[in-house]
C-alpha cells in the first residue's frame, strides 16, 4: 500500500493504473470520470466484437468496450469484482472493462519512457509510454487512439 500525497508538481502526471491479464496499464486521470463495479451490460447486435454492449449509468447509455477483446487477450468471465472504468475522450464516454483497478499514481514526466516493441500484445499506437509502478512496468495508454471511431472497429492484428 502506498500512501498517496497528490503533489501538484508541474512536471508530473497522475495515472489510474488497472490490471488486464496481470499487466498494469495506466490512464491519465483527467480522462477518467468514474470507476464502477460490474453492471449488467446489454449486448447490441451488429457491433464489433470488442464492444460488449451498452450500460446504463444513471440514465446515460454508454457503450462498453472489452479491453481484453481489444487487445486480443483471452476472454474471461466477468463477475461482480470486475471493474468498469468510465472514461471520456472529448465528447465520447465509454466504459472499459478491466480486471481490477490498482492505484492512482503520480508519475514524473521524465519517468515516462518510450514504449519498446511489445510484439503482438498491444498495437503500439495505443501506447504513450511505460512507467514504473511499484515493481513493474505499467503501460500508459493513449485513450484517443484507443477510442477513435474507426478504432471502435476491431484493430488489425499487430504482427
Amino acid at each position: 500500500m502506498k500512501s498517496i500525497v497528490a503533489k501538484q508538481v508541474q512536471e508530473s502526471q497522475q495515472f489510474l493504473t488497472f490490471l488486464l491479464e496481470e499487466q498494469e496499464y495506466g490512464l491519465e486521470i483527467f480522462k477518467i470520470r468514474e470507476i464502477r463495479g460490474y453492471s449488467p451490460i446489454t449486448p447490441i447486435p451488429n457491433v464489433p466484437s470488442h464492444v460488449r454492449g451498452v450500460m446504463n449509468l444513471r440514465g446515460t447509455v454508454l457503450p462498453v468496450v472489452d479491453l481484453r477483446m481489444k487487445f486480443h487477450l483471452p476472454a474471461v468471465d466477468y463477475n461482480r469484482f470486475t471493474v468498469i472504468v468510465i472514461a471520456t475522450v472529448g465528447e465520447k464516454t465509454v466504459g472499459l472493462l478491466v480486471d481490477a483497478v490498482s492505484d492512482v499514481l503520480t508519475v514524473g514526466l521524465d519517468a515516462i519512457r518510450e514504449a519498446p516493441d511489445f510484439g503482438a500484445a498491444v498495437d503500439t499506437r495505443f501506447i504513450n509510454g511505460v512507467f514504473q509502478s511499484k515493481d513493474r512496468l505499467a503501460v500508459a495508454l493513449n485513450l484517443e487512439e484507443l477510442l477513435t471511431e474507426s478504432e471502435l472497429a476491431a484493430p488489425p492484428l499487430a504482427a
Binding site: 500500500m1 500512501s3 498517496i4 500525497v5 497528490a6 501538484q8 497522475q14 489510474l16 486521470i29 483527467f30 477518467i32 468514474e34 470507476i35 464502477r36 463495479g37 461482480r80 469484482f81 471493474v83 483497478v101 492505484d103 492512482v104
Partner: protein, 583 residues
C-alpha cells in the same frame, strides 16, 4: 532208373503191368501153341494112327474071320444052312475088308503107307477070287476041291497078313515117333513156360518192389514230414527228388510248410510288435494317469486356496460393510454408546457453518471492494480537483487503506475458512474416498466372488476332464490289457510250433504281465484321483460360511495328499478312502 522214377504213377503202373501182361500173354501164347501142337499131334495120332490101326485091324479080323468061316464051312460042308451062313459071313468079311481098306486109305498118308494099302487093294480081288473058288467048291460040296482052293488061298492070305503087319508096324512106329515128338515138345514147352513164368515172377516181383518202394518211400517220407508238421515242427521239409506226382506232392507240401512257417514267423513278429505296442500303451496310460493324479493334486491345492480366499473375501466384505455403515452414519449395536456423531454429520455441520461464514466474508469482501472503488473514485476526483482536493485525497487514501485492510482481513478469514473448508473437504473427501474404497472393496469382493465362482466352474470342468481322462485311461489300460492278452495268446499259439528262430515266442509273454498290472493299477489310481477332486470341489462349493476348520482341513488334506504318492503298495485304497471320509 531215374527216368522210371520220374514217371507219373499211372504210366509207371501201367507200363509195369503192361510188361507183366505182355509176359503173361507170352506165356499164354506159348502154352496155347504147345497145347495146340500137342492137340494136333494127338489128332493126327487118332485120326491117322489109331484109325489106321483100327482100319487095319478090321481088315485083319475080317481076314481071320473069313478064314475061320471058310474052315467052318468046310467042316460043316454038309450043313447047308450053316454053310450058307458062313458064306454070307465070308462075303460080309470081304465087305468089311474093303471098308477097312477104304478107311486105311484115309489114314495112311505117307508114301510107304499108301504103298502098302495100295498093295492091299491090288491084292484084294485075287484074294477074293480065290476065296470065291473055295466058296464054290464048298457050295458044290467038293471037299477036296475046297481044300485045294484053301491051299491056293494061303499065300494070298499070307500076303494080306504081311501087308497088315507091315501096316500095323508102320503105324506103330509113326505113333511112337509122334509120341516121342510130343514128349520132346512137351519138355520144351514145359521148360519155356516155366522159364517164362519164372521170368514173369521175377520181373513182377522186381517191378512190384520197385513201384511199391517208389510210392511207399516218398509217401512214407511225406507222412513223416506231415506228422512233424502236425506236431508243430514247421522247419520240416521233404526231399523226394523225383518229378512224379509224389515228387510234386512233396514239393507242394514243402512250399505249403514253408508258407506256414513264414506266416508263423510273421505272426510271431506281429505278436512281439503287438506286445511292444501294448507296453507302450500301458506306459502312455501310466503317464496320463500320473498326469491326472498331478492334476487332481493341483485341484486339491487350488480348492484349498480357494477356500482360504473365499474366507478372506467374506471377512473383507463384512469389514467393508462395517466401515460403510460407520461412514454413512447407521449405527451397529457395538458402536452405540460412543459419541454418537458420525463423521459425515459432523462434516456436514462444519460445511454448513463454513458456508455461512463464507457468505458473510464474501459480503465483507464486496463491501471492501466497493469501498475501494469509492476511494479510488474519490482519489480520481481529488486528483482532478487538484489543490482543493488534497485533503480529500488524503481522506480518500485513508479510506482506501481501511478498505484494503478490511479486504485483507476478509481475505485472511477467507483463507482460514478455505483452509478449514479444505480440511473438512479433505476429511469428507477422505470419507468419500473411504466410502468409495469401501464400495470398491465391496465391488471387488463381488468380483472376487464371481472370479471364485468362475474358478469353481473351471475346476469342475477340470474335474470333468480329469474324470473323462481317468475313464479314457481305464479304457486305454483295458485296451492295453486285452492287446497284451491277445499278443500273449498269439505267442502261445505260435510257440507250439517249432520255428527256425526259436526262443522268441516265450519272451514276450512274460514281459507283458507286469505292464498289464501297471496299466490297470494306474487307471484305478486315476479313478481315485478324480473321485478325490470331485469330493473336494463339492466341499469348495458348499463352503458358504467360512469356517476356521478350513485351515485345519487344508492341512489335513495336505497330509492326505502327501500320503497319495505312496501308491505303490496295495494297501492304498484303505488310506485314500479314510482321508476322503472327511468330506
Amino acid at each position: 532208373m531215374n527216368w522210371f522214377k520220374n514217371l507219373n504213377a499211372k504210366p509207371r503202373l501201367m507200363s509195369s503191368f503192361g510188361v507183366l501182361l505182355v509176359l503173361t500173354l507170352g506165356i499164354s501164347y506159348l502154352a496155347i501153341s504147345s497145347l495146340s501142337k500137342a492137340n494136333d499131334r494127338i489128332q493126327s495120332l487118332y485120326q491117322k494112327d489109331l484109325r489106321g490101326v483100327i482100319a487095319v485091324e478090321l481088315i485083319d479080323t475080317s481076314r481071320i474071320d473069313l478064314a475061320q468061316k471058310d474052315r467052318d464051312a468046310l467042316i460043316k460042308i454038309d450043313d447047308q444052312a450053316s454053310v450058307a451062313t458062313d458064306i454070307n459071313a465070308v462075303r460080309a468079311d470081304f465087305g468089311r475088308m474093303r471098308t477097312g481098306i477104304q478107311d486105311a486109305e484115309q489114314s495112311f498118308l505117307t508114301k510107304e503107307g499108301k504103298d502098302i494099302i495100295a498093295d492091299m487093294r491090288e491084292n484084294l480081288p485075287a484074294y477074293e477070287k480065290s476065296v470065291e473058288a473055295v466058296i464054290t467048291a464048298i457050295e458044290a460040296k467038293d471037299t477036296p476041291g475046297a481044300k485045294i482052293a484053301i491051299y491056293a488061298l494061303a499065300p494070298l492070305a499070307a500076303h494080306m497078313s504081311a501087308d497088315i503087319d507091315h501096316a500095323l508096324k508102320l503105324k506103330e512106329s509113326h505113333a511112337e515117333d509122334r509120341f516121342q515128338e510130343n514128349l520132346a515138345a512137351y519138355d520144351t514147352a514145359r521148360s519155356l513156360v516155366i522159364g517164362a513164368a519164372a521170368l514173369s515172377l521175377a520181373l513182377g516181383l522186381i517191378l512190384s518192389f520197385v513201384i511199391a518202394r517208389g510210392f511207399s518211400v516218398p509217401l512214407g517220407q511225406a507222412v513223416a514230414t506231415l506228422e512233424k508238421v502236425a506236431g508243430g515242427d514247421l522247419t520240416a521239409s521233404l526231399d523226394v527228388g523225383t518229378h512224379d506226382e509224389v515228387g510234386r506232392m512233396a514239393e507242394a507240401l514243402n512250399s505249403a510248410v514253408e508258407r506256414l512257417h513264414s506266416t508263423m514267423q510273421q505272426v510271431t513278429e506281429s505278436a512281439a510288435n503287438t506286445s511292444d505296442s501294448s507296453q507302450q500303451l500301458a506306459a502312455a496310460s501310466d503317464a496320463i494317469a500320473s498326469g491326472a493324479q498331478e492334476q487332481a493334486a493341483s485341484l486339491e491345492e487350488t480348492s484349498a486356496s480357494l477356500e482360504q480366499i473365499t474366507a478372506a473375501v467374506r471377512m473383507t466384505a463384512e469389514n467393508a460393510k462395517k466401515a460403510s455403515d460407520l461412514a454413512s452414519g447407521s449405527h451397529s449395536v457395538a458402536d452405540r454408546g460412543q459419541d454418537g456423531v458420525s463423521a459425515m454429520a459432523a462434516m456436514a455441520e462444519i460445511s454448513a457453518s463454513s458456508a455461512k461464514i463464507s457468505e458473510i466474508i464474501s459480503s465483507v469482501d464486496e463491501i471492501a471492494f466497493q469501498t475501494n472503488l469509492l476511494a479510488v473514485n474519490a482519489a480520481v476526483e481529488a486528483a482532478r480537483a487538484g489543490d482543493e482536493g488534497r485533503g480529500f485525497a488524503v481522506v480518500a487514501s485513508e479510506v482506501r487503506i481501511l478498505a484494503q485492510r478490511s479486504a485483507a482481513s476478509a481475505k485472511e478469514i477467507k483463507g482460514l475458512i478455505q483452509d478449514s473448508l479444505k480440511k473438512v473437504e479433505r476429511g469428507s473427501d477422505l470419507v468419500k474416498q473411504v466410502t468409495l474404497l469401501v464400495s470398491e472393496i465391496a465391488l471387488s469382493s463381488g468380483e472376487q466372488s464371481a472370479g471364485i465362482e468362475q474358478v469353481n466352474t473351471a475346476m469342475s470342468q477340470m474335474d470333468q476332464v480329469t474324470q473323462s481322462n481317468s475313464a479314457q485311461t481305464e479304457e486305454l489300460s483295458a485296451t492295453a490289457e486285452s492287446l497284451a492278452e491277445q499278443a500273449s495268446h498269439l505267442s502261445e499259439l505260435v510257440s507250439t510250433f517249432t520255428l527256425s528262430h526259436n526262443g522268441n515266442g516265450r519272451r514276450d509273454q512274460q514281459a507283458q504281465q507286469p505292464h498289464e498290472a501297471t496299466a490297470a493299477h494306474h487307471s484305478s489310481q486315476a479313478q481315485r484321483s478324480s473321485s478325490a477332486s470331485r469330493s473336494l470341489l463339492t466341499a469348495t462349493r458348499s463352503n458358504s460360511a467360512a469356517r476356521p476348520e478350513l485351515k485345519a482341513r487344508g492341512s489335513k488334506r495336505i497330509n492326505a495328499r502327501q500320503a497319495t504318492p505312496a501308491i505303490a503298495s496295495p494297501s492304498v485304497p484303505a488310506i485314500d478312502d479314510a482321508s476322503f471320509e472327511e468330506f
